[in-house]
Amino acid sequence: MKRADQPFQFMAASYLIRIAAQAAQSLRELAQCLRTCSEASIFYHTFQSLETHHYTSFSSDFAQWALAACNEAALAERLAVVDLREVVSLAELRASLVDTVEAHLRDHPASADRKAYESFYFCEASEITVPFGPPVWTLQEMADGIRLLGHQSLHYHFISSRLRPPFRMNDFSDWIEHRLGLPRLAAQLNRIDFYNDTLDDLRRDLLALLESRQGR
């Protein structure tokens, strides 16, 4: 079994949702709040929500609100299409969201001040991470660790990690490529589509790839 030159340290992550000061009651207010809210809020409403949304039409809170509270389906679809795998900074993401809402309001000015069915409350996640388990050196040990990760920790390592350096890469792939020297497997893991599955589905896909590599 191949051994890494440096170990991987799993982290147990947990979040508490902090309610921010901004709230929007119309699309115009949404655009204003998007310009001024914290980057943590931008992240929370676009990607933290991937952890729990299985029933709503969109995983992005902004998109879901545009649909459910404003009845603006086209805008909702455009807000939802942002793919975390292509985003390299929250500033870029914020600009993209603001542009999307403003473009929609230019085409549909009557929608700007129509009162939403319910307000959008901006939130952000306060995160705590603690080292979890012993450092791991092999794919087998990594698979064993992934089995024991809770949902929030899986999200931390596989989804929110893409907005930490080196960007666009999950923590597992980064280690597999650079510490184990297996770039193909790293790329395969990184391509898993986490948008349409639950975190348990994601865990299953990760383990299937890791185990298929070990089976060779």
Partner: protein
């Protein structure tokens, strides 16, 4: 002041088959960072109501993971609890004109409790407005103080809120069941969903024979649809509105209505509302008003499982844990879009949201005539509760909050 009585509770490992072993292992890892820390929880009733239920199950688990937790209940006279009930209604938006001496009485009772209690723990969590002024007991040696608000503060009576707000802002943080309830406080405000215990008598799996036996004892016909609301007899739960909705439904569909409730020791209005409900139901043998004692958890569980539809037609609601209870049992829910209920009921996906008596009647009729759709709502609802509203989530949120407070977020 009295220590609240707790019954033997399951241990953390018992939850692994429900939430997964991974969540349990992680919980222990997070809790290890708080080893030897001490917590005090304070509320106003040991029995009855959602807060007491949560604490009854949460406190033993906190102790099990190494965070020594003491739960204390404030005491007060009948006058104090009449005042706090009036405050409660006013904070939910009811018209209210408080006499100045009522605020004095409120503060005097808080002061009496403060003198009896010690606050040398690392974290003090005060639940709801009744004991809010205990923060006066904070001194330089005290740990972090948190105010947990379980009620809907979205449209509070200004007179009462202006009285309470300066007390609340002396805390280090505040916890709300919905972002809508926040009030632009100068302290951090966190979102904290209440939770149910899947292993408690109220929620655990029951044998079908037991459920049938409960229906028989209560005089319910298992062969006909049962529509149930489980709530304290409280005007904000709109039990009379449920009866009106039922009467509309009965024009089209055969069914029985159950209004199952009880009262909490801090709610002096319960008996008055119960009489109003009994009068509204008079003469209809298919309306069953059940005034159950606080220990009727298994009966409530059986009713929620046996019901065709569970209704929660509240006018205002802190969170409405009875909704999570029904969803956990895969029973389809029709509930008002108030308070924390929309967090639990995603319209047409995990249940049906309504805004009126007529809307409730319409959706009850719809679900009675579309059982496959109703079944899908119930299954989605169960999964939604599993991911967000179980006791283990609450435990993790508290542990996370304590770590965040220590970090100085």
């Amino acid at each position: 002041m009295s220590g609240a009585t707790r019954v033997g509770a399951p241990v953390l490992q018992d939850y692994a088959p429900i939430v997964g072993q991974a969540e349990i292992v992680e919980l222990r890892e997070v809790a290890a960072r708080l080893k030897d820390r001490r917590v005090k929880m304070v509320n106003s009733t040991a029995v009855g109501g959602g807060v007491a239920e949560i604490l009854n199950r949460l406190v033993p688990l906190m102790e099990e993971v190494g965070v020594a937790t003491r739960w204390e209940v404030i005491t007060g006279g009948e006058k104090f609890f009449h005042i706090t009930k009036a405050f409660h209604n006013a904070l939910h938006g009811a018209p209210y004109e408080a006499a100045p001496e009522w605020f004095d009485e409120f503060l005097a009772t808080n002061e009496e409790n403060r003198r009896r209690m010690q606050f040398d723990e690392d974290f003090v969590v005060i639940h709801d407005p009744q004991p809010v002024a205990l923060i006066a007991g904070r001194d330089s040696a005290s740990g972090r103080w948190v105010w947990r608000c379980h009620i809907d503060l979205s449209r509070p009576n200004p007179q009462v809120w202006q009285f309470l707000q300066p007390w609340v802002e002396r805390y280090d943080a505040s916890l709300f069941s919905s972002p809508e309830f926040t009030q632009g406080l100068r302290i951090p405000q966190y979102l904290f969903y209440p939770t149910i215990d899947p292993l408690a008598d109220k929620n655990r799996e029951l044998e079908p024979e037991f459920v049938r036996g409960v229906l028989e004892r209560l005089g319910l016909d298992p062969g006909r649809p049962i529509v149930t609301q489980v709530s304290r007899f409280d005007r904000l739960k709109d039990p009379v509105g449920v009866i009106r909705a039922y009467r509309i439904v009965r024009k089209y569909e055969d069914c029985q209505l159950v209004l199952a409730g009880g009262s909490a020791s801090d709610d002096p209005e319960g008996s008055v509302v119960l009489r109003e409900v009994q009068e509204a139901a008079a003469g209809d043998p298919d309306i069953h008003i059940l005034n159950l004692p606080p220990w009727s958890h298994l009966e409530i569980n059986a009713l929620q499982r046996a019901s065709t539809i569970v209704v929660q037609k509240s006018l205002r609601e802190g969170f409405g844990l009875t909704v999570a209870e029904a969803l956990w049992k895969k029973t389809p829910v029709v509930a008002s879009a108030v308070g924390g209920i929309p967090s639990q009921v995603i319209h047409k996906l995990t249940g049906m949201l309504v805004h009126s008596v007529e809307g409730a009647a319409y959706q009850i009729r719809f679900l009675l005539t579309h059982p496959e759709f109703a079944k899908r709502l119930g299954e989605n609802g169960h999964q939604h509760v599993k991911e967000n509203f179980l006791l283990t989530h609450n435990l993790k949120r508290y542990l996370t909050m304590f770590l965040i407070l220590l970090k100085g977020d």
